[in-house]
Amino acid sequence: MSTATAAPETTRGLVEITKVRKAFGATEVLKGISLTVEPGGVAVIVGPSGSGKSTLLRTINHLEKVDGGFIAIDGELVGYRVRGNRLHELREKDILKQRTEIGMVFQNFNLFPHLTALENVAEAPVVAQGRSKAEARERGLELLDRVGLKDRAGAYPRQLSGGQQQRVAIARALALDPKILLFDEPTSALDPELVNEVLDVIRELAKSGTTLIIVTHEMGFARDVADTVVFMDQGQIVEQGAPKDIFTNPQEERTRSFFSKVIEPAFNI
């Protein structure tokens, strides 16, 4: 890691989501979500398709505007500024700056196909953080090494397997030294045998002190890495808790019936 991040890792990356509401037209997708993730914590969000998990993640870096409620990172509002008793949306420039502190990894990677792996990783540090090209390249190679792809630095995304592409995407998100990393179903687009290479990289990150918020359907992985498992259904958080509690002893009927569908019997502890 660079020497600039001298401050103890655990003091950065507190995420506070408070009463967040969001509707698309008439359909309410988030119905007052409140969730706190401690600095360096790992929250795994699970829930049926369409329950609003992606939308929630996207509000955290202001890719989606909230209709009500607010999100703060280390006490600083995301996307807004308080003036009087109103929240004014920040200008594009300031929003972009905030986004550099929040990395995001997408289900379908969204790597830039016309740029090589290394160019994908080194682009944002140069244009969003004003680092020098040489510095960004060097750090990019370091990060590709960290995800086990240093020797593929010159390859274009389409020349890489799905698992490799997602690892490049993770390196790209890490290149900005984010306080927080958001993962939206990072392994859902992968062939089963490629899932683990990506999960292993995320497991490593979980130990690094970066706050992680992960949407996934991989329950075994959730049990391993999560501090908190959050179960969402129909735009609400139904239940949350430590993995061992929520998997073995869910309090709500909805949680129980969801787990009974997604967890293979052998997994039930």
Partner: protein, 347 residues
């Protein structure tokens, strides 16, 4: 190639007629568990590794080639031997000073209106994609008007603008303040009218082409770039446009090649580009066909050069879009002579 190799290693020990059942039976007598994945013991295969590979004969390709070659030869023969083409006259005028001057005018018009047209088209495309209803409808209306009026009419309108508006002035609208004022006829020369007409018309078409290209880029690309904090302008130029170019380029080159010949329409303004020049000459000398041929040959030359550019520019923008870039014709030729020729000579 590889399939041939596998076939060889499988069928080598037995005569070609050996059915899978025979192999299984043999395995059975040897006391092994029969199974498709475990073949029985085999005699060592003949090693074919050093044999040279011969492609399957393709007689119809040769027939086709011969027919087309014959046709081409016939056309060439008639072009060369029919005296009415008057090749000597063509040769005499092909590089004549007046023709070359006309050619340069054509190139100048094409370059200026092509560049301006595409720049304006790009702006119009962005307006069309913007969230502002005003920008959107202005852009739409522009394309609508300029695509629905004949270029010839536009050209004549611009040239006769002085008839509609005697003076053109720059000032603050709805006040009497004027920064400058000129006679329209001094401002709109033949050249200006030609450039205006071609540019605005070109912009209307290229706006649609560029918009189509931008729309063809996956939305996730913009989202990923925004999530990385990449500024909006850079998102367009570095992420979206290079990918849009793949869809834009083939049609854009169509447009530019069309524009090269389209410039000939400015003859209505008596503007001496290539086509007008040639007309002036044949009206004087009465050598109509040979002089039309001179102009045609030059258009062919320009189009050919543009096509080569197109090939390499498209290749540049297909970086990363295909797993491996296809070889260029030059590389192909080199490979052909490096690999093909020796095998031939072995036969």
């Amino acid at each position: 190639m590889s399939s041939a190799a596998t076939k060889v290693s499988q069928s080598a020990p037995e005569p070609a007629s050996a059915a899978p059942g025979t192999a299984e039976a043999a395995a059975g007598t040897a006391g092994r568990v029969p199974g498709p994945t475990k073949p029985g013991p085999r005699k060592p295969a003949t090693d074919y590794a050093d044999y040279s590979l011969v492609s399957a004969p393709r007689p119809w390709r040769w027939v086709g080639t011969a027919v087309v070659a014959l046709g081409l030869a016939a056309v060439a023969w008639s072009l060369a031997t029919n005296p009415r083409w008057e090749w000597d006259v063509v040769g005499q005028w092909f590089t004549a000073q007046s023709v070359v001057k006309g050619l340069l005018e054509t190139l100048k018009l094409t370059a200026i209106s092509g560049v301006l047209g595409f720049v304006l088209g790009f702006i119009l495309a962005l307006m069309r994609l913007s969230a502002s209803p005003l920008l959107l409808s202005v852009s739409w209306t522009f394309s609508w008007i300029f695509r629905s009026t004949p270029l010839l009419v536009q050209m004549l309108l611009w040239y006769n603008l002085g008839y509609l508006y005697e003076k053109i002035s720059l000032g603050i609208p709805f006040t009497d303040i004027r920064f400058f004022e000129v006679q329209t006829t001094t401002l709109i020369s033949q050249f200006a009218a030609a450039v205006l007409g071609l540019t605005l018309n070109q912009a209307a078409y290229s706006a649609e082409i560029i918009r189509g290209g931008i729309l063809s880029v996956d939305q996730g690309q913009l989202e990923a770039a925004a999530a990385l904090g990449i500024p909006a302008w850079r998102r367009s130029t570095r992420i979206v446009l290079p990918q849009a170019m793949r869809a834009i380029l083939p049609t854009a080159f169509n447009e530019i090649i069309g524009l090269v010949k389209g410039t000939s329409i400015v003859y209505v303004l008596a503007y001496s580009e290539l086509f007008y020049t040639v007309q002036v000459i044949y009206n004087r000398t009465q050598q109509v066909l040979p002089l039309l041929l001179v102009a045609t040959l030059w258009y062919v030359v320009i189009t050919s050069v543009l096509s080569v550019f197109q090939y390499y520019i498209e290749r540049h923008y297909s970086k990363g879009a295909v797993r491996t870039l296809p070889l260029t014709p030059l590389q192909k030729a080199r490979k052909f002579f490096a690999t093909h020729a020796p095998v031939r000579s072995l036969r």
